[in-house]
Subunit: 448 residues, 2 copies
């Protein structure tokens, strides 16, 4: 059912005061669709719809909403309703939400939270941003190695956690250190009297609480995990990260990379939700840096003022030379930056990659210059100009492709983010170099 149809159905049922039917209908709607539904119905109706949901559904839907809508709801809900939500939702979601709320709302939320949960939330809030500690949920199923499969099933049934957290069960020693992991599939295909220790996998992929989220996502990708356990410095299990959270991080990191590669400071919110002022703030820093760097290229052109005065036609080729250089550089740097991000390329590959780009650059440069020569000959019937432009093109392509390898890998070696060496900065550097080569070659050929 499309969102529009759901919205129409809600409006119809509400207009006809068929509240019982509306309640039943809403329970069957996927929780993940509610943010879009709330966008589609009038503000007055949102609270009515929300209050019709069962306790469990209300909590599920709450978690799906964005922080602005959550804040709005909290302000309108009674203390009892807030209590219900805080009893139902998972503590990692609670901590995420609280981090984004203004102080008065946080106060009201915590006043309506059980004291053990309050402690867990406070613990979670202590971890630095973008680490395993902030991603993990503290709810998981822990088993004893001497349990049988049958006993393990009883533990799972009693705990009855949400779906992402039951696929793996963790076997802990008395001191809560992690001994092994049993996936739900192994439990299901084993006989009921088999011991957990005989089917557990002791070769566990795990991370520390301070592990960076980017590294964690790579683990999920490489080992096709559905959950990864998080341990403290004493190897004690403190939480697990589930695949749904890993996917969110994946999307977030991708968007960040795109933003960095287009010379912007990453934003937390979606495009439409980010204010005009924040957009401007996140863009202007790099634009300023790049604008001032472009003046260096301008300075080089100014330096060759006499050459230009003698042969004004040269200026007409500046866009071609600069554009081709920039595009070639960004092709190479994009591939290198992605390769570094995916661990397919390491800093050790510098020379191999440079050699590869040298060959690619030679092929591409020669190809482009043949076409360019033909065009110039047809348009201006001037072989000297054609030769100068062609030579410059080949050199520009090669040099900018080398820069496209060198700058990102160099940044990585220096511990900087390679993504900042993407198109915008690289283009500015390659502009300078290519314009310098162009006028130097032209001056010496034409004796300017």
């Amino acid at each position: 059912m499309e969102i529009d149809d759901i919205v129409n159905k809600i409006v119809e049922l509400d207009d006809n005061r068929r509240i019982g039917d509306l309640h039943k209908f809403l329970e069957d709607v996927n929780s993940a669709d509610f943010p879009m539904i709330f966008e589609g119905i009038k503000d007055e109706r949102i609270m009515m719809v929300y209050r019709l949901l069962s306790k469990e559904k209300a909590a599920e839907v709450f978690v799906e909403l964005d922080h602005d809508r959550q804040e709005e709801l909290i302000r309108l809900l009674t203390d009892n309703e807030i209590k219900n939500i805080m009893n139902e939702i998972y503590m990692d979601d609670a901590a995420d939400m609280i981090e984004e709320m203004p102080a008065d709302v946080v106060k009201r939320i915590l006043a309506n939270t059980k004291s053990d949960n309050r402690k867990i939330i406070n613990e979670l809030l202590k971890y630095p941003d973008d680490t395993a500690g902030t991603l993990m949920t503290t709810e998981f199923i822990d088993l004893d190695e001497n349990m049988t499969v049958d006993q393990a099933f009883k533990v799972i049934k009693e705990k009855g956690l949400r779906k992402e957290t039951v696929y793996n069960c963790y076997v802990l020693a008395k001191d809560r250190t992690l001994l092994g992991v049993v996936d739900v599939r192994s439990l299901l295909v084993s006989e009921r009297d088999v011991f957990v220790k005989d089917i557990m996998d002791t070769n566990v992929i795990k991370v520390g609480t301070l592990e960076d989220q980017e590294e964690i996502v790579k683990l999920f990708d490489k080992y096709s995990c559905v959950a990864v356990p998080v341990v403290d410095k004493q190897d004690r299990l403190v939480g697990i990260i589930t695949i749904d959270d890993a996917i969110d991080v994946m999307q977030e990191e991708t968007l960040e990379d795109f933003e960095k590669m287009a010379a912007m400071k990453p934003t937390e919110d979606t495009y439409m939700k980010t204010s005009v002022f924040t957009h401007a703030k996140h863009r202007i820093t790099w634009l300023l840096v790049l604008m001032i760097s472009a003046m260096i290229t301008g300075g080089i052109i100014e330096h060759f003022e006499n050459a230009i005065a003698t042969l004004p036609l040269l200026v007409a080729f500046i866009p071609t030379i600069m554009g081709t250089g920039g595009n070639c550089g960004s092709q190479a740097s994009t591939l290198i930056i992605r390769g570094l991000a995916m661990d397919e390329i390491t800093t050790k590959d510098l020379l191999r990659a440079m050699l590869k780009e040298l060959k690619v650059g030679l092929l591409v440069g020669i190809g482009l210059s043949i076409i360019e020569t033909a065009i110039i000959m047809i348009q201006y019937h001037d072989l000297n100009t054609a030769l100068v432009i062609s030579a410059t093109l080949i050199l520009t392509v090669i040099v900018s492709k080398q820069l496209g390898v060198l700058l990102p890998i160099g940044a990585q070696k220096l511990g900087l983010d390679p993504a900042i060496m993407a198109a915008p900065l690289l283009t500015t550097v390659s502009d300078t170099v290519s314009v310098l080569m162009f006028f130097s070659i032209a001056s010496s050929v034409f004796g300017l």
Copy 2:
């Protein structure tokens, strides 16, 4: 354990002829680590190591390898060994592999495949690329709605599929149409005598066999699924797509977007594995298009030859104007392209986005031009030049940000991929526009 340590251990055990220990050691190594391990050991040792693996492990490792290595192995393995692999691996993996192999290898593989499996593979190979049909696996657990939870557990135990496929069980009618889904968690927390029909979810998120893989990935992201059922036109269940395959597609699509946005045709292989010639081929088409488009900008500059002859200083500002325009445009277009890809922005948002960018452009443009005016006044003490550049800058920023919204959304409206409207093409268009504005303003102010 790091890959290097694993490789050293293998070499040590092999050198000391401790084959039994080596066998035991290899069984505990994660299958996903073998591609890297094989890169680290000598070719002669690869076959020895591979042959030491148990039947199940050998099949698991085989699936993890890239197609070149798979082909190499197939050529070296006996018919019996190939049979073992084909009996163990899943048919979607088999179809993926066969698609990449040369005809003689395919022949040998199929000759060693059971006839029912051969049929399944042939069916899978018929689906168009990048659709649900090529992504899905045909192994899944199907239940009858009148079974009890206990009976369902028996079915799961007998089938004993790989881990990604047991999280959801599908409830089918007699004609194999999909009635509902039961997740393993619901089975585990229910009493043993409850009927499947009473706990199944009938509101199933499903896709058709021809659904595009990009849309499928969005479903996984939005609804936090671990598996999505695939149905044919008659709503009969034909396969399921599991989260691990969805993540692979996610990574693949991201890389493709990066490549398109840097003016390249996407490659299937990793950077290092792609040949120099393929790299060159995938890059030169767009470079040519962009190079020739840049000549339009060149033509505009040529048109203003007299203005340049009178005031050569103007040329020195071309890089600043062109660079700023290009960067502003690519900032806007990157955000719009990502927003479109993530369904956060639709073509209906055109006017809202343009208005937003108008405001951002005004703020950024004024900010940049204040700094630029200051720099020009310090460097050249020339108010007129400063005013011309500043006015051009503001206009350039605004216009290129508008283009950054208009071109991707326009492409989407025309059914084209918005990513091709990213930085390179946009920069070329904004170069032309900004140079034209620059010289027009300069000519009229200075009366050139």
